[in-house]
């Protein structure tokens, strides 16, 4: 028996939920609006909400004065690079654990996860010294290496939960028909695994894009991605609200859009399959 829901009750919930939703989103909205103000309007009292002279000047100033495109490109290379390399390493591993599970598969999976729980400060000094001595400090290569390693357990886990859902009978049928291991992987499993791989890719690009411990500690001017570039606004440029807002908007907009597409994968990826 479906419960009859009064329109009035529905309207109340709608109102409350929208109010809270907008309140939570407000700092992002405010950053976006401020990025189109002049510096004077950005600190005007009382602040104007929409009734100001919209300008895109801040965006061009940020692009010109700082090496914005370089930092943006660094973010792209580091997040996509570490994710793709991570996938190349993780796909075979997750694959074999999902389809040829052994006695110790579960232990290996849990052990991989446990490496993720190592606090970064526990290995900060050695990594810093190794990078200093091998010339990897402030290079994109160095960050790609570190981010690949810290996200590898999540990538393996996400892929594993996806591969687990591919029915094993299909594999057996393929084998009966005489498919070799190679053919089995290329023609049978890959097409079924693509959605899972794509979701994993998406979530990991987001995580790597926003990573702000290693990117802040291992880079200076050259290889700094957007996280570190924005941190340089902490003083004194941070007092230029409109420019800070423009730089911030450009840094977060692409990832918020990607994030909205990956809501479902987020739950799966970050709870390691414990909540579905």
């Amino acid at each position: 028996m479906a419960r009859a829901i009064s329109t009035r009750r529905k309207a109340t919930f709608t109102l409350v939920a929208w109010a809270i939703g907008i309140a939570i989103f407000f700092p992002i909205l405010w950053t976006f609006l401020t990025s189109f103000k002049t510096e004077a309007e950005a600190i005007a009292s009382p602040p104007s909400f929409l009734g100001f002279a919209w300008t895109t000047e801040n965006y061009s100033v940020v692009m010109e004065r700082s090496n914005y495109s370089r930092h943006f490109w660094n973010s792209v290379v580091i997040s996509v690079g570490s994710t793709v390399i991570g996938l190349l390493i993780a796909i075979p591993a997750a694959w074999s654990m999902a389809f040829v599970p052994g006695r110790r598969t579960k232990d290996v999976l849990l052990w991989m996860l446990s490496t993720k729980m190592l606090p970064p400060v526990g290995v900060l000094i050695p990594i810093y010294l190794i990078f200093r001595d091998t010339g990897l400090l402030d290079t994109r290569t160095g960050l790609v290496i570190v981010l690949t390693l810290i996200n590898l357990p999540i990538i393996v886990w996400m892929l594993y939960t996806y591969f687990k859902e591919i029915p094993g009978e299909i594999l057996e049928a393929a084998r009966m028909d005489g498919a070799s291991l190679y053919n089995e992987i290329i023609y049978v499993l890959t097409p079924m695994a693509v959605p899972g791989i794509a979701s994993t890719l998406l979530l990991n690009v987001i995580l790597a894009w926003n990573e702000a411990f290693w990117t802040l500690n291992l880079t200076a001017a050259k290889a700094a991605p957007l996280t570190a570039f924005i941190a340089s606004y902490s003083s004194p440029e941070g007092l230029f609200y409109a420019k800070l807002s423009a730089a911030s908007t450009m840094a977060i907009a692409p990832i918020i859009v990607l994030g909205w597409f990956s809501q479902k994968q987020l739950v799966r990826g970050l709870t390691f399959g414990a909540v579905k």
Partner: protein, 290 residues
């Protein structure tokens, strides 16, 4: 149908990931352990000498360590309290029938995708700044004195910022759990005369317990390592008022170049994180069997 051939192939396929992670764990961690027993400062290279447990003694008896430990616990506890209570409330609300549910969900989730340095700077400057921040404007509008959040309540302010970032995570996970709640059970209870509150306490909360535990454990892992938010807002200050363990180790090793002391601190942080990790691993491990 697992053959010996495919078993060998499986071992080969899994080994790169295992070897890399093993190296990532063992090499730097054993270096940290080794450094933690040395008197080793980057400003005087070549002067390293064995120091035994001196670094640990200094680190653990340093008043800054107790401040940092307290701050870490307050930060983790405070954010957990806000996000779990707020997240449960929001999940229950978002599960109700309404118009535009999808859009509200998108609005609520958005902060999770904002990089930590951006959210910290936006809150610090555009909201909490005592002269030009929105809060200051709001305080003045109702005739109150503007409050300097980051100087007078630095830890509280950081808790607020970090909670804003993690509330979406808790909400999203709890909402996912809510959606698997048995509707018929709810209706049956309602027909038996159970009120909204008792249905919430006896049906919803027990159903969410597992998801709440997962949220608490996973957030704790990440919250123990909060760093960027502190770096760009207060630099751990004033004094050590907003220094957590992660920031203290960073300051000791990369600002004071005390590799030995910093390493000892790092090992202490690893031990603390492990205590939490053991519980989390047990939960996830149990789930693997089902």
């Amino acid at each position: 149908m697992v053959t010996a051939h495919s078993r060998t192939a499986a071992r080969l396929m899994i080994s790169p990931a295992v070897v890399l992670l093993l190296g990532w764990m063992i090499i730097p961690l054993s270096m940290t352990i080794y450094f933690s027993f040395l008197r080793y400062n980057l400003l005087s290279p070549g002067m390293e000498e064995w120091a035994g447990l001196t670094n640990y003694r200094y680190f653990l008896t340093d008043p800054a360590f107790f401040a940092a430990l307290t701050n870490t616990l307050l930060l983790v506890g405070g954010v957990l309290l806000i996000t779990v209570v707020g997240g449960t409330a929001l999940a229950v609300l978002l599960d109700q029938p309404m118009w535009g549910q999808g859009i509200v969900r998108i609005l609520v989730i958005a902060p999770f995708f904002v990089m930590p340095t951006v959210s910290a700077l936006v809150w610090k400057n555009m909201f909490m700044n005592p002269v030009n921040g929105l809060f200051a404007h709001a305080f003045k509008a109702v005739g109150l004195q503007p409050f300097d959040f980051l100087s007078h309540a630095p830890l509280m302010s950081i808790i607020l910022i970090v909670s804003w970032q993690w509330l979406p995570f808790a909400t999203l996970i709890l909402l996912t759990a809510m959606q698997s709640l048995d509707q018929e059970q709810q209706e049956a209870a309602e027909m038996d005369g159970a009120g909204v509150l008792s249905r919430f306490i006896y049906l919803t909360i027990p159903h969410l317990t597992r998801a709440i535990t997962v949220v608490i454990l996973i957030q704790t892992i990440f919250l123990l390592s909060v760093f960027a938010e502190i770096l760009v807002t207060t630099n751990g200050g004033p004094g050590t008022a907003s220094t957590n363990l992660t920031y203290l180790v960073y300051a000791q090793s990369l600002l004071q170049f005390d590799v030995g002391g910093g390493s000892a601190g790092g090992i202490v942080a690893v031990i603390l994180a492990n205590i939490v990790a053991i519980f989390l691993m047990r939960m996830i491990g149990k789930n693997l069997d089902t």
